[in-house]
């Protein structure tokens, strides 16, 4: 169930029952090499999580729907990227296919299925999503097979890794962080400054008023789902070279992006970014100190945040 294997340098020397390895954690903080390695791996996890979580939070903010099947978009993004990379050999095209493919998938999913359960019970929405988690996983199994697949590092990035303060940083990691950051900025500026962004924010605030002004809200809803799908697909495509691909890979990512959105506050983009980075760092450093309880650490963090601030770090107060 854990797809984040590459972020666990310590797992190789994990032996038996040591759930607590504080010496390793302490010694890491004294070595700049370890610090750099762990921080970059934390940033990678955080950035990928952010891309998935921000779509989730955007969809929730505008449509008030918790998209439980968001992890499937991440999974499809990775598989689309792998297939198109194997067919064309172009890494850029693979990224594009991953992102565009899931965007279309998101649009169809919203227009055909989700749009039927707006205004219905939350339970209904969760169920439709749950159904698609099951269906999508099996569709992937049907098309690409149940076994682990890997895309392999694109040739352009098979170069000597960089050394920053003694820590090893593969260049692909830098690209990954860069692309994710760029997506974050485009999304943030787009929502805050452009006309479309303004319409989306207005639709989140008062959809009936927006539609009374002659704007097609159905199109906005579909569009928001498409953007969410695109970002999750992009995350999947970016992750494809460094992760193994398996049906159901979306799920652990989904649960973690939920934690991110809940920690950051549902509907807040800045919250998603901060939450994702925090969680990434907890994962990468937690895997040193608590090799077996890393997951538990995240849930514990979520519980603490929820109990002290039910609406999340950057969320609006819950009524």
């Amino acid at each position: 169930m854990d797809a984040w294997t590459f972020a666990r340098p310590s797992s190789a020397r994990r032996n038996g029952n040591d759930t607590l390895d504080l010496d390793a954690l302490a010694s890491c903080f004294t070595s700049s090499a370890c610090l750099v390695t762990q921080t970059t791996s934390g940033l990678i996890i955080g950035m990928l999580l952010f891309l998935v979580a921000v779509g989730l939070t955007l969809i929730f903010g505008v449509l008030k729907v918790v998209n439980f099947s968001h992890g499937a978009f991440y999974m499809f993004g990775a598989y689309f990227a792998m297939t198109s990379y194997q067919l064309t050999g172009s890494f850029a095209l693979a990224m594009l296919c991953g992102a565009a493919g899931t965007a279309i998938l998101g649009l169809i999913f919203e227009r055909v299925f989700m749009s039927r359960v707006y205004g219905a019970d939350v339970l209904m929405q969760l169920l439709v999503c749950y159904a698609f988690v099951l269906i999508f996983d099996d569709v992937v199994r049907l098309i690409w097979g149940p076994e682990f697949r890997s895309m392999g590092m694109p040739t352009a990035f098979q170069v000597v890794p960089l050394f920053i303060a003694g820590g090893v940083v593969p260049p692909y990691y830098l690209l990954l962080i860069g692309v994710a950051l760029a997506a974050a900025i485009v999304l943030g500026v787009g929502l805050a400054r452009t006309r479309i962004g303004k319409v989306i924010r207005a639709a989140a605030y008062n959809p009936s008023m927006v539609s009374a002004l002659g704007i097609n809200t159905g199109l906005i809803y579909g569009g928001v789902f498409a953007i969410g799908g695109l970002l999750a697909g992009l995350a999947g495509a970016l992750a494809a070279p460094v992760r193994s691909l398996t049906p159901g890979m979306g799920f652990s990512v989904l649960i973690e992006s939920f934690i991110v959105t809940v920690i950051g506050g549902m509907g807040s983009i800045l919250g998603a970014l901060i939450g994702a980075l925090l969680l990434g760092l907890i994962r990468s450093f937690g895997s040193l100190g608590f090799p077996l309880f890393t997951e538990g650490l995240m849930y514990l963090f979520m519980v603490i945040v929820l109990v002290s601030r039910p609406s999340g770090l950057f969320g609006k107060e819950v009524a």
């Binding site: 918790v66 359960v117 219905a120 939350v122 169920l127 099996d138 109990v307 819950v318």
Partner: protein, 343 residues
């Protein structure tokens, strides 16, 4: 107003009628329970199919769990996404007590219930003040926290292997649970008693308080109901029944596995409720039987049972927009109303 809420409103409208005949109704409940138990008890005499008995045992475990979840979801409107943690807790608690201490089975049973009550009170006290989707998330987080604890505390819980080596089943009071028929009868007793107890809770004044909290929590607190306490009480009560379901499961498989505490159990519970319907008391039980039959037949025909299951869920969620029992009840009332309108 959504259809689900409309159905619930109709449910609460019929309350006075129910209340008037509540005493008679309780005898009726008892009668139905006795009849159901008689039928179940006669089953091993009629058929010697081990698979059928196994099926009923699994139905008992999941049925107790799903019905207890309905106390939260259907009656109180608290959508818990972590109810499965108590299922897992029951299975692990019972298994560990039997393996490590080796007390008589009824004692282990009661001890597990006591542990569940304590854990549920602590977790519930934290969770129930949160609303709707946040409640769902924080219960999910607790579920995953317990799941990760089970995985990482491998010296105590067996880690990802689960509790292996079998759970001892020493005979007590002439009942030998290693005998398949005895085990079957014991789980039937637990199921019927559990359902009867939950039915009493649902039909009691407390049960109507819960419905009121679901429909209008602010009004409930205006007339002097301590909403937080009522929610916590039902949270703990539901946890006890879910834990009983987990214990039946642990008895049946003679072990406990981390999957019992994984969030998918909670997801299945919600799904069962939806499948059967949340507006009737026996809806979740019908849902349990449906889901288990569905699971068993589909896995026999195709390895891609996710697709089939998903399509069935979609049919219920988008097509019917309610569970089977809700649909049947509504159809029946409409027909009756039409008939009486004509007559």
């Amino acid at each position: 107003m959504t259809e689900l809420q409309a159905a619930r409103a109709a449910d609460s409208l019929s309350a006075p009628r129910l209340e008037a005949g509540s005493k008679r109704l309780r005898y009726l409940d008892l009668l139905v329970a006795l009849a159901a138990f008689a039928v179940l008890a006669l089953l091993p005499l009629v058929s010697d199919s081990k698979a059928l008995l196994d099926f009923v045992i699994r139905c008992s475990a999941y049925g107790l769990f799903a019905t207890s979840l309905n106390l939260l979801v259907g009656y109180t409107g608290m959508i818990s996404f972590g109810h499965g943690m108590f299922f897992g807790l029951g299975a692990y608690g019972y298994g560990l007590i039997m393996q490590r201490i080796g007390v008589p089975i009824p004692l282990a049973f009661l001890a597990t219930l006591a542990i569940t009550a304590v854990v549920a009170t602590i977790i519930g006290a934290i969770c129930v003040r949160l609303k709707e989707i946040y409640f769902a998330f924080v219960t999910l987080a607790f579920q995953m926290l317990i799941h990760s604890t089970i995985l990482s505390w491998s010296s105590f819980t067996g880690g990802d292997q689960g509790l292996r080596g079998g759970i001892p089943r020493p005979p007590f009071l002439g009942i030998d649970l290693s005998n398949h028929v005895h085990l079957y009868l014991a789980s039937c007793v637990l199921l019927v008693l559990g359902l009867l107890a939950m039915r009493q809770i649902a039909a009691s004044p407390f049960g109507y308080t819960l419905r009121m909290i679901r429909d209008n929590p602010m009004r409930a607190s205006f007339i002097g109901i301590d909403v937080w306490r009522a929610k916590l009480t039902v949270f703990v009560l539901a946890a006890l029944f879910a834990s009983t379901g987990g214990m039946v499961m642990a008895l049946f498989v003679s072990g406990a596995y981390p999957e019992f505490a994984y969030w998918t159990i909670s997801g299945e519970g919600i799904f069962i409720n939806m499948l059967g319907g949340v507006a009737t008391f026996l809806g979740p039980m019908v849902g349990t039987v449906l889901l288990l039959i569905l699971n068993d037949t589909v896995t026999r025909f195709t390895e891609y049972h996710g697709i089939v299951l998903g399509v069935v869920i979609l049919f219920f969620a988008i097509g019917l927009r309610k569970g089977l029992m809700d649909f049947v009840v509504e159809w029946y009332t409409q027909r009756r109303d039409r008939a009486s309108g004509q007559g």
